[in-house]
């Protein structure tokens, strides 16, 4: 088990390194990206440009620049943005983390509760009217582009119906949990619902198919023959076994979201989280921030993968040798 864990960790580090190199290379292959002119200002003259280039180390060869950037990021921890001079990358990310966590955790609670309820319901009422309705609802949730849904939600809650039904909806933005818990929740309500709409459908369908499979198993048939009530079978036997793949799936999705993959939701609802930081950095082609946020996101994806892998390895020894 230990050897497996060590191997997994080593491969995780390798993956992170490869991603950092790739991001760095892609950035410098992108034309028009030389930040010197933008930093120096419009219509700056040649001497000013050269001075700025030198100051930012932009006239060094690629490997040196990469090494410098990595050193600033991990060793000195003072990597600064190209676009906002003097602003450090790491504090920017750490400030954005609570926002993303608030969004993702809240949405996760909602989608898990709703998804599990819907999935169990669909499995329990298989064959009756409720089943296809639930499936279609779930499928629709997956099929709607999240930023489109977000903009429509804003149109209704902030603009069209703001004077009437939705007058209690606060303006877009984020309020810290410690500052005002009620406002924190109110500000996040619609972002939670929008993000959860997407994932609830996925989980409902996965759980439903897992449970349908579980309900066909021999031990369930035995339990039925022994006279155990259908509800007990559903909840105690089928649900418990079906939850394992759901939980592993949740781990992967949660990992990706914490890393900032909910960026479109954050942008549409004006939440200053890691996703939006990534988005603005991409728009500005601000390499240090891009590097920071991408590595941060990759770290969580890799971590989530590793945790799930380790979990399965702990449960099933066959997996350890794979």
């Amino acid at each position: 088990m230990l050897r497996f864990a060590l191997r997994r960790t080593a491969s995780a580090v390798l993956v992170l390194f490869s991603i950092s190199v790739l991001v760095f290379l892609i950035f410098f292959a992108t034309p028009g990206v030389d930040p010197a002119a933008r930093i120096a200002g419009r219509n700056a003259d040649q001497a000013t440009l050269r001075a700025v280039q030198h100051e930012f180390g932009l006239d060094q060869p690629l490997p040196v620049r990469y090494a410098l950037m990595m050193k600033h990021l991990f060793v000195d921890r003072d990597l600064t943005s190209f676009v906002n001079r003097g602003v450090r990358v790491i504090p920017q990310i750490t400030q954005a983390v609570p926002v993303t966590l608030s969004l993702v955790v809240g949405a996760a609670v909602i989608w898990m509760v709703v998804g599990i309820a819907m999935g169990t319901g669909a499995a329990a009422w298989r064959g009756r009217a409720a089943d296809p309705v639930i499936v279609v609802l779930g499928v629709l949730g997956v099929s709607i582009p999240v930023y489109w849904l977000g903009e429509v939600v804003n149109l209704l809650t902030q603009s069209r119906l703001h004077d009437g039904v939705f007058s209690w909806v606060p303006p877009l933005g984020y309020v810290g949990l410690t500052t005002d818990p009620v406002q924190w929740a109110l500000h996040l309500l619609f972002p939670w619902l929008t993000l959860a709409a997407l994932y609830a459908g996925i989980y409902a369908r996965v759980l439903r198919s897992e449970m349908l499979g579980a309900l066909d198993e021999d031990y369930v048939r035995t339990a039925r023959a022994k006279g155990v009530s259908e509800r007990r079978i559903l909840l105690k036997h089928a649900l418990r076994c079906s939850l394992i793949p759901v939980v592993s799936l949740f781990g992967l999705d949660f990992g990706a979201l914490v890393g900032g993959s909910a960026l479109l939701t954050e942008v549409v609802f004006g939440l200053p989280g890691v996703g939006r930081l990534t988005y603005t950095a991409l728009q500005n082609l601000d390499l240090p921030v891009i590097l920071g946020t991408v590595l941060y996101a990759a770290f969580f994806v890799v971590l989530a993968n590793a945790v799930v892998d380790l979990g399965y390895a702990a449960l099933d020894p066959r997996v350890r040798r794979a």
Partner: protein, 573 residues
């Protein structure tokens, strides 16, 4: 200037400019609570009953550095007006008088020597920085040196005429301006010596790049760290991801109502991060007071009808144009360039920008109402002095003559809504004219430098220019002289690569005439404009107007033609 976001506004008003800069004036819409009903050109008296409150502004993103010597964006120059002062300033009033230069930290306008090479100022006494320290002539000397120490964007273009500047530009370590800026602490006198006469110096001293900072300020970009201010406000906190907060400067005492008037709100905060659509909604709901970014096209109608009382429309001295690369086919052929000028439906471009109330078609480089502008249009159907309609038939004939039909043409624009829409229209037009046109929208943060660099082989690009100061040279000389064309550099503002020795000579003549006879110079500039448009290195599209959308509670909206809305004069109580 490039665009609202990336441009700095410096306005300097030469007397002749103030005379000829006519039309438009300030916003014709009646402001809800009216301004101080003062005589035009005179700053209204301070009304203490409206003082107080928190002004809440919105912007899509932060505007960069807090350092007035480094920042070159309109977004922050508007806010710097309330914080930093130079020896001179633009009058902070509504209307055309806002082009007038008045003394700020200097006691009076400078005395200029006969040969135009020396400008003498006397520093005002008693003005304090927000730290409590008094402003001294040593601060002035240090500030001028600092322009070169921090690599100010205009160090080489605005201030290179100061004695010693040339050396400072090439070697910062041995920078010595002691001959160029001579100060005398005993008499509080400052004398600026130039290597050549510069009638535009007053303008250049009134922009934030020439603001007076405390001696000992960092010799590199201050970035996000606030530096001491002299104006009525100072920066309390700044986080480029969330907000910029300004509070009243406790050490401020008004010394000149024209140059640096007291402000009304107690605090001003500019919050970042909302999309422009969300920001417009916030202002409509009264959750914010003003947005910096232009409202999206689909909200304009709503703003102009339901919220008309909160909308202020003002003309700008600027123009949007298509720059054609005169060194790349097919635009190296003058016939093709003239054909495009004939074919573009400027009414369509105006529609895509927001309609005739927000833009007006143009045919010349100098915008209407600008010094040196003369109504003239060489590329309209049926001739005349103003643009009426496109002439597709003639355009197609010219293209046939040039033999370039079927070539591939790439149009580079920024990827925001309006620019992309105009780009798509131009692409459709070029396809109609027989070319294989593709649209290349790229991020607004890199597009401007991208189209300037000749290594990128940009054939056609959509861009704009907003005045730095109201002088024809700021448009013609900056955009179209040979000196502004630097191949292989991200800073080559002559995007068309237009370099004509005769036209250059005409521009030099006009620049020299400016020193003695501004009116004659303006006639010469008009001739330069005409000569340039005959060779058509660019396609002028329209001159835009600015729309400021304020919330219901805001009053006393004033529009300076130089720095646009006067932020601290807004009433929130």
């Amino acid at each position: 200037m490039l665009s609202r976001r990336l441009s700095a506004l410096t306005a300097v008003a030469v007397l002749a400019v103030a005379a000829t800069a006519c039309s438009g004036g300030s916003d014709p819409t009646p402001a809800p609570s009216g301004s101080g009903a003062a005589a035009p050109g005179v700053a209204a008296a301070y009304q203490p009953q409206h003082a107080g409150g928190d002004l809440h502004l919105l912007a899509k993103s932060a505007g960069g550095s807090l350092d007035p010597k480094v920042n070159y964006t309109l977004q922050y120059w508007q806010l710097f007006q309330a914080m930093y002062d130079g020896l001179l300033a633009f009058k902070k009033v509504d209307g055309d008088a806002s082009f007038t230069v008045v003394p700020d930290l200097a006691e009076a306008l400078p005395t200029v020597s006969a040969d135009g090479l020396s400008y003498t100022f006397t520093l005002r006494k008693g003005v304090k920085f927000s730290t409590g320290a008094e402003v001294t002539v040593d601060d002035v000397a240090a500030s001028f040196k600092r322009i070169f120490e921090v690599d100010s964007p205009t160090a080489g273009t605005f201030y290179n005429g100061i004695v010693g500047a040339a050396n400072c530009l090439t070697d910062k370590a041995t920078c010595d301006l002691s001959q160029g800026v001579v100060v005398d602490p005993a008499t509080n006198e400052i004398v600026i010596h130039l290597v050549a006469p510069d009638p535009e110096l007053s303008y250049k001293l009134a922009v934030p790049h020439a603001a007076i900072n405390l001696a000992g300020s960092p010799t590199s970009d201050a970035g996000n760290v606030p530096i001491p201010t002299t104006g009525p406000y100072m920066v309390a906190s700044y986080d480029p991801n969330t907000a910029l907060k300004m509070v009243r400067n406790p050490a401020f005492a008004e010394w000149s109502h024209d140059a640096q008037p007291k402000g009304y709100p107690d605090t001003i905060s500019e919050t970042f991060g909302l999309t422009v659509e969300a920001a417009v909604t916030a202002v409509q709901n009264g959750q914010a007071d003003w947005i910096f970014d232009p409202p999206p096209a689909d909200r304009l109608n709503e703003i102009g009808t339901k919220y008309a009382a909160q909308a202020h429309v003002n003309p700008l001295t600027a123009f949007w144009y298509l720059a054609m690369n005169t060194h790349l086919a097919p635009f190296d052929n003058v016939k093709v360039r003239q054909a495009l000028n004939l074919a573009v439906d400027r009414d369509a471009a105006v529609k895509l920008y927001g309609g005739t109330q927000l833009a007006q078609p143009v045919c010349t480089v100098l915008p209407p109402g600008f010094p040196g502008h003369v109504d003239d249009c060489q590329y309209t159907k049926g001739g005349g002095t103003t643009w009426k309609a496109p002439d597709l038939a003639k355009a197609k004939a010219l293209i046939a003559e040039s033999g370039t039909a079927g070539m591939e043409v790439g149009i580079t624009t920024t990827d925001d809504e309006v620019n992309k829409a105009i780009g798509e229209y131009v692409q459709s037009l070029l396809t109609e004219l027989g070319y294989k046109a593709t649209l290349k929208p790229i991020s607004g943060n890199i597009q401007f430098t991208y189209i300037q660099n000749t290594n990128n082989d940009v054939q056609l690009s959509l861009t704009s220019w907003y005045q730095d100061y109201p002088a024809a040279s700021d448009f013609l000389n900056v955009l179209l002289s040979c000196a502004s064309y630097t191949p292989g550099s991200d800073s080559s503002i002559n995007i068309s690569g237009f370099c004509d020795k005769d036209v250059d000579a005409q521009m030099q003549t006009a620049l020299t005439t400016e020193q003695t006879d501004p009116d004659k110079a303006n006639t010469q500039w008009a001739a330069v404009d005409k000569a340039v448009m005959t060779q058509a290195p660019l396609v002028p599209l329209f001159t835009p107007k600015l729309i400021d959308f304020t919330s219901k509670r805001v009053g006393n909206y004033q529009f300076s033609r130089q720095f646009y809305m006067l932020v601290i004069q807004l009433w929130v109580k």
